[in-house]
Symmetry: C2
Subunit: 314 residues, 2 copies
């Protein structure tokens, strides 16, 4: 078990038993849902990005850092079926940051808010050796229903909203000083939260969803643990961009399965009852309860992908 | 102008014009107030603490770091007339932190929540070279009214809820390896947010309040700038503990005026109309509009305190 999971277990052990009936969904999902007003439940989540861990100044503009810091939080809200309303922003600022840099950072945040919803209403600034940005997002559910990672049912189809692996492909290009702007690098530098798709999932009656931030394989594991089910994935059905295939012809499948920071939605649904009115990609199905395994197949045959132990934390 | 204020001005320039009518109080006060449900307005704020800037492991236990990280956010809510409801916690964890350390950190947070209200509902953990904790607190107003730092009126009395300078006195002891637990060190290590007093201020009809986190002089400047008034302070009326006077006999007044992290409430009120049902200390009065000066007197004579340019940011 990795250190991050050990720490999360400590938090769960110490805090989750406290959570009162006002909290519909607590620690452990993409965001918490607070009951509050019955007609307008609030959803709250936090996500941080830290210099040299989540981004390097070599290839990240201040504007893109600002954009991404908001986008990853909006993505967590989308994963719950919520639309962004408010953000608070805590920034740890190293001494080398100029006013111009800082302005670009805030402008990037503002552009993401203008594009995908929400306002920055407060925050704080502290000195720090490395730049860090901790954001809390508060959203409202689109409807009374919401999405969780714990509600997958055996027989459900497993689907995603878009191509996987582009962000990791982009990061590999950027790390090799290939900073040409293309589909892959843009996917890493300026991801778009799937707010529109989130609303459509809720309207269609989907219950189980999360965003893919830790890579498909890791997030399949998270979903299978939360829902206590096994999952079967058909790797030939995983959507992969032409650009990723062209630039990484020998390992694009590994990149799509392991790549983090895709920020697509991963969801399950009963396709005999639910029709989805937007482009999506069925990549497998939910198997029996209580097993918590991931089985990969390629055109019907057992497939063993190369699994990286990718983590922001290790 | 210091760097922090320059950055805040950039944020105000870029973001404040966006704030829509749903936001009652925006960037620049201790917290933002969101209109939302008319009967139950939400208040939201963020505050971070960073290793070596706000605390050192030499004299801070993990439990006290956890306590203080929550307490300073609850204090911001108290400054607005709100009670803590929910917290999200983002933690940047260095590799040397053990599971036991982490458990103590979370226990300290939990103890502060148990003592002063609110639940931790979510957050995230990332790796970081230095420990940082960024917290966002969401609270509810005690009543429909609220407190701001911009509502001081000429003629108001200026008052505080308790002794000033103990926390800086405590920090001076701790920095000199004097880690004996006493009133001063405890005041620095484990401050108590003034939730009770906040409710009484609201009930009594007080409108202008902030918490003293940057030191009395700095926060008087913040209040005078926000309210566009001058302030007159009688230094002999500033409440100072016997312990501070005994341990710092030559400079306790300077410590009380400059000392940061008191987390007492600083408020103004019309004492001909408002009677306060709790212990408080009148330290001066609000002068004319639009001047934004602080005048210190000692027993009626002009007094010039030694002003430190204390800041967490510089």
């Amino acid at each position: 078990m990795n250190k991050e999971k050990e720490f999360i277990n400590i938090i769960n052990k110490l805090l989750n038993k406290d959570l009162n009936k006002d909290i519909v969904v607590g620690i452990g999902d993409d965001a918490a849902i607070l009951s509050g007003n019955k007609q307008n439940k609030k959803v709250i989540c936090s996500d941080s990005i830290v210099e040299d861990l989540h981004f390097k100044f070599d290839y990240f503009s201040f504007k893109n850092i600002g954009w991404k810091s908001i986008a990853i939080n909006s993505s967590d809200l989308a994963a719950m079926g919520a639309v962004p309303e408010y953000f608070t922003v805590s920034i740890g600022v190293p001494s080398h940051i100029s006013n111009k840099n800082f302005e670009q950072l805030i402008l990037g945040m503002k552009e993401c808010c203008d594009s995908h919803g929400g306002f920055i209403v407060g925050g704080d600034i502290v000195k720090s050796e490395k730049l860090f940005i901790s954001i809390t997002a508060v959203g409202s559910l689109f409807q009374r229903g919401f999405l969780t990672r714990s509600s997958a049912k055996p027989g459900d189809k497993i689907a995603v909203t878009g191509n996987l692996g582009d962000s990791l492909g982009g990061l590999k290009l950027l790390s090799n000083n290939n900073t040409i702007e293309n589909k892959l690098t843009l996917s890493h530098l300026k991801p778009s939260p799937r707010i529109f798709e989130s609303e459509k999932l809720i309207e269609a009656g989907v219950k189980c969803c999360m965003d893919i931030s830790d890579g498909l394989n890791n997030d399949l594991l998270n979903l299978s643990e939360s829902s206590k089910v096994s999952l079967e994935i058909n790797v030939e059905e995983i959507p992969v961009s032409k650009e990723l295939m062209d630039l990484f012809p020998t390992n694009y499948i590994d990149i799509a399965i392991n790549g983090g920071e895709d920020y697509e939605l991963l969801f399950t649904f009963d396709d005999s009852k639910i029709k989805l009115p937007f482009n999506h990609f069925v990549i497998g199905r939910v198997l029996e309860k209580n097993a918590k395994n991931i089985f990969y197949k390629n055109k019907g045959k057992i497939f063993e992908p190369r699994i990286d132990s990718w983590s922001h934390f290790e």
